[in-house]
């Protein structure tokens, strides 16, 4: 395999979880997310020869995954809301009653993040991925000040969303 092919394989394997987590902030449906993963992989493959190494690989991969996510949101907005999926269709996600508390928390957090405005969503996801302010700024092409502002707003919005979803769940259980 060529040097480029080796680099690509290593890159994809090492960053697969990061890519999937970023995409989960844009898309809930596992089947659509799988398609987006392919898009990210294709975009990475196409962009790899131009990677100059002036930013970290994490930053580079996250940027491309976000690009694909943004493009997906844009496409979704253009094509209108999707028809609700048939609930009898098999899903790769565990049924809520079999989810562990940890899985529930993860799902609740991902659901909350998906409802954030685009700019806040990107910043929060990268913060949760342990990116520093400078790295987030480099990934998104914005200033560090803007990162701090968006993060503060996102933190407040997220707390409000989680409070609301907690209240709804409690009412459903009652």
């Amino acid at each position: 395999m060529s040097d480029l092919g080796d680099r690509f394989e290593t890159l994809l394997a090492a960053h697969a979880p990061l890519i999937d987590r970023i995409l989960s902030a844009y898309e809930r449906r596992p089947a659509v997310r799988a398609e987006l993963r392919q898009e990210v992989a294709v975009a990475l493959w196409q962009a790899l020869p131009r990677f100059r190494g002036d930013s970290g690989l994490n930053t580079y991969v996250a940027r491309i995954a976000h690009n694909v996510g943004v493009s997906h949101v844009r496409r979704d907005a253009r094509e209108g809301p999707h028809a609700e999926l048939d609930e009898t269709l098999p899903s790769d996600a565990a049924a809520p009653e079999y989810e562990t508390s940890r899985e529930q928390q993860r799902r609740q957090l991902a659901d909350a993040i998906r409802t954030l405005p685009l700019g806040q969503k990107q910043v929060v996801v990268l913060h949760l991925e342990d990116f520093g302010h400078a790295q987030i700024a480099a990934t998104l092409g914005i200033g560090e000040g803007a990162v701090a502002v968006r993060l503060t707003r996102a933190r407040q919005a997220l707390a409000a969303i989680l409070t609301e979803s907690g209240r709804t769940t409690t009412e459903e259980q009652a």
Partner: protein, 196 residues
């Protein structure tokens, strides 16, 4: 349930619980897909260039059969104009052809640029099509070419019908492209605004 007062830093471990990818995409399939997309982009440009070359050939042929020197020059000038329009189209597409994934806002700007270029080219077809017909008719009357006369004599009405059908199809397609790209541009600019 997540405690809403929990700090974002405390949520990092919850967030990173996402299971790893279970179906690693086939590298070969990805390479094929990447190559297919690149080929499609260049194929479009190649088809346009072939079309332009055919148009230039046609005008040179018409110039060869023109009865007067002025007519010959006029046909050749239209051929040069077709070449210039093709060059302009390539120049408009230069950024799109060198597209690369960058920061999200740059990516969206590229999408917007793509839509603007497509709209410009569609407008060119919408305006240039009828103008071309008018110029062609006027030129045919003012500087008749032996070649065109022979083609119409041999093909008869079917040649004219084919030209009219081609023109109508081109205009309908261009109008559809303008509408589609206008919608795309609006959606892209909304997303760009959200990112500001």
């Amino acid at each position: 349930m997540i405690d809403p007062s929990m700090d974002l830093d405390a949520l990092k471990s919850v967030w990173r619980d996402e299971p790893a990818l279970d179906d690693a995409a086939s590298l070969q399939a990805l390479r094929r897909e990447a190559q297919r997309q690149t080929r499609r982009l260049y194929a479009t440009v190649a088809v346009e260039c072939v079309g332009t070359a055919a148009a230039i050939g046609l005008f040179v042929w018409l110039a060869g059969g023109a009865a007067t020197t002025a007519g010959r020059i006029a046909y050749l000038a239209i051929g040069v104009l077709a070449l210039a329009v093709q060059g302009w189209m390539l120049w408009l597409r230069r950024k799109v052809l060198r597209a690369r994934a960058a920061a999200p806002h740059e990516y969206l700007e590229l999408q917007a640029q793509r839509s603007r270029v497509a709209m410009r080219l569609a407008w060119l077809a919408l305006i240039g099509g009828p103008v071309g017909v008018v110029i062609g008719l006027a030129l045919g009357r003012w500087a008749p070419s032996e070649g065109a006369a022979v083609a119409i004599d041999v093909g008869g009405r079917s040649v004219v019908a084919l030209l009219v059908l081609g023109l109508v199809a081109m205009l309908a397609y261009a109008a559809w492209v303008v509408r589609r790209e206008r919608r795309r541009l609006a959606a892209t600019e909304r997303a760009l605004g959200e990112l500001q």
